[in-house]
Symmetry: C3
Subunit: 279 residues, 3 copies
Amino acid sequence: MSNALVFQTDFGLGDGAVSAMYGVANTVDPNLRIFDLTHDIPQYNIWEASYRLRQTINYWPEGTVFVSVVDPGVGSTRRSVIAKTSRNQFIITPDNGTLTHIKKVAGIKAVHVFDEKANKLPSAGESYTFYGRDIYAYTGARLAAGLIDFDVFGEAVPVESIVELPVIPAYRDGERVVGMIDVLDVRFGNLWTNIDHNLFHALDVTHGDRLEVTIRNDTRNVYKNTVVFARSFAAVAIGEPVIYINSLENVGVAINQGSFAKAYTIGTGSNWHIAFQKL
Amino acid sequence: MSNALVFQTDFGLGDGAVSAMYGVANTVDPNLRIFDLTHDIPQYNIWEASYRLRQTINYWPEGTVFVSVVDPGVGSTRRSVIAKTSRNQFIITPDNGTLTHIKKVAGIKAVHVFDEKANKLPSAGESYTFYGRDIYAYTGARLAAGLIDFDVFGEAVPVESIVELPVIPAYRDGERVVGMIDVLDVRFGNLWTNIDHNLFHALDVTHGDRLEVTIRNDTRNVYKNTVVFARSFAAVAIGEPVIYINSLENVGVAINQGSFAKAYTIGTGSNWHIAFQKL
Amino acid sequence: MSNALVFQTDFGLGDGAVSAMYGVANTVDPNLRIFDLTHDIPQYNIWEASYRLRQTINYWPEGTVFVSVVDPGVGSTRRSVIAKTSRNQFIITPDNGTLTHIKKVAGIKAVHVFDEKANKLPSAGESYTFYGRDIYAYTGARLAAGLIDFDVFGEAVPVESIVELPVIPAYRDGERVVGMIDVLDVRFGNLWTNIDHNLFHALDVTHGDRLEVTIRNDTRNVYKNTVVFARSFAAVAIGEPVIYINSLENVGVAINQGSFAKAYTIGTGSNWHIAFQKL
């Protein structure tokens, strides 16, 4: 059986772009099993593309081929790469920072650069704007179908050579842990921080403890209040804020059945600082 | 061949949550055929989750396994159940009212409660907030793949013990039939009532007849006008209201190529009353 | 192996309509490989349904069965047809203009009209409003599964008899090429014109040349400025407009990492005229 082929883009599903990618994969091999990660990455948001790969990859089997196309530099000189992770999964993507979290969290053991011209859908013609269809879906499908052997495909380059976005590590500061807001749990407005549960537990907190939560961005203090740490949302009242360990085992902040992000107009990224202090 | 596995959630497709569920299912058995019902159930709206199951289940084959995760009580003491319908389909869900319409319309012949801890994805770790991935997708995949035998899985409990949301029956009142607005045909703004076509036809109406339609909520009368009953939208002018029998064989109200719900700001639920009177 | 079955509708994915179509197809044959083109065609927009088929069809294999349901005339006397293209792909659709671009661009070699009553899902009942489920998904699934033989199914009618929407051809006028804005690259706000790259190159332009772009609708001039022609977005500054050859090898106009359509409130259709003049 062929390996699963999983697509991620910022194309949305409102026109035919993603379906053309499915079609290319079907043309390569009609037996391919094709899935989606998401196609709703905000346009050009490489950070979020990187994060969503990290959020899901561990739940897919060995051998799975991910094709991620968030590519503001399409047609420029940025490289096209295939990364092989420690768990023998593959990610095909423009080398623009999309591999940032996978490298840090899942681990990458090899990266091959491949030539775009030599690996372009034969029927692609004059267009140089839809590499998602003409290069990435096409190459990903051939890899998943076993028509390409990673070991001899493209040119091995040092893992250290891939483009990485700046990642700010979380740290402990006495009775506080300090980090940033990585991303939102989009539909629910929960904050997902970069603070691992192990670092958090260094504060020696247990369910039911209250902590002071401070959120600030580069221009102002946005939130400062005491919030309970609980096992899950159901442990607090509806409408009450809660600190919890999210599905990636990092610290999250939510309002039970409400949106913390909307309530306090919280954003994400390296200028959104968050700290937890034991009381 | 394994049975189809059909996912429904209120997670949306904007982040990696649903894809992590696909990945878990693929890890259980790469041969599984995975489909979606919808992931756009409004957050925490158990009523609509229940209704969408009822809207689709009859069109899927015997043996299909549905996993429905609209779970405001995740991490609380609400039960996790598998229901087996009269047509030998399966629904895995938190027992929070999601089975309301299936029980009434499709019929449930057995319900088994299963232990969440004993049926959790082995790699799930400390998180107690993503049972959709760690428990429901995992257990649904094992059932669809034949790794779980319903007959000996979990503990049989009385069908009458499942949680049901209040459902108000439609009724005849002389020359009127009276009911509620169950749900909208989301994209088109058509009203779907709880009035079955048989009850409606007790008024002895035929295509072309005009009826008085009255809509009120708990605070005011919202609509009162005469509307024609027609076989389909094309029988009336563009922009004209129409009473019709919808795809579930219940009475619907629409504006041909317009949105009745938007035009008159109509909502859904047990406080949205609708009546049809033959003229 | 059965042929791929690809669905397109204007139903959205917010309720159970599309899932009911998947279920019908699964009931016909659980081995069917089911995919989506898009379900976000704006309601009743036959032009866009026609365009999205043309955008994707060439990337799917021979034998693929497309089911396209944008059907404002459901229940009227408009015909239900299956078209067979020059590349031996099939499109099942109401005959309402949905085949316009396929006929012009991909080529249609045969059209068969089929009887709706005789090809309706046996369990469909009294409803006459959901032909997407009861007729088109059902018939498309039977065709993809090989249960229907196109050659003897329905009644052959002249290809010229199908309904076509008016299409305005692009043309050269001295040092200008003149056309219309067919559609948007939805998520990115790029303009896709009906001007083929061959017609454009008749102006003898090369990458780096600047052209005057004029956009007007029936009531006013909307845009008039000089814009560079480049191979891809990356050749211009972020925020700069660019003329390029899009993924269908037609002329497009974009703002690099911005939305041209939003910036100048540009629409689509036969009253949106665009011209390019070499400077």
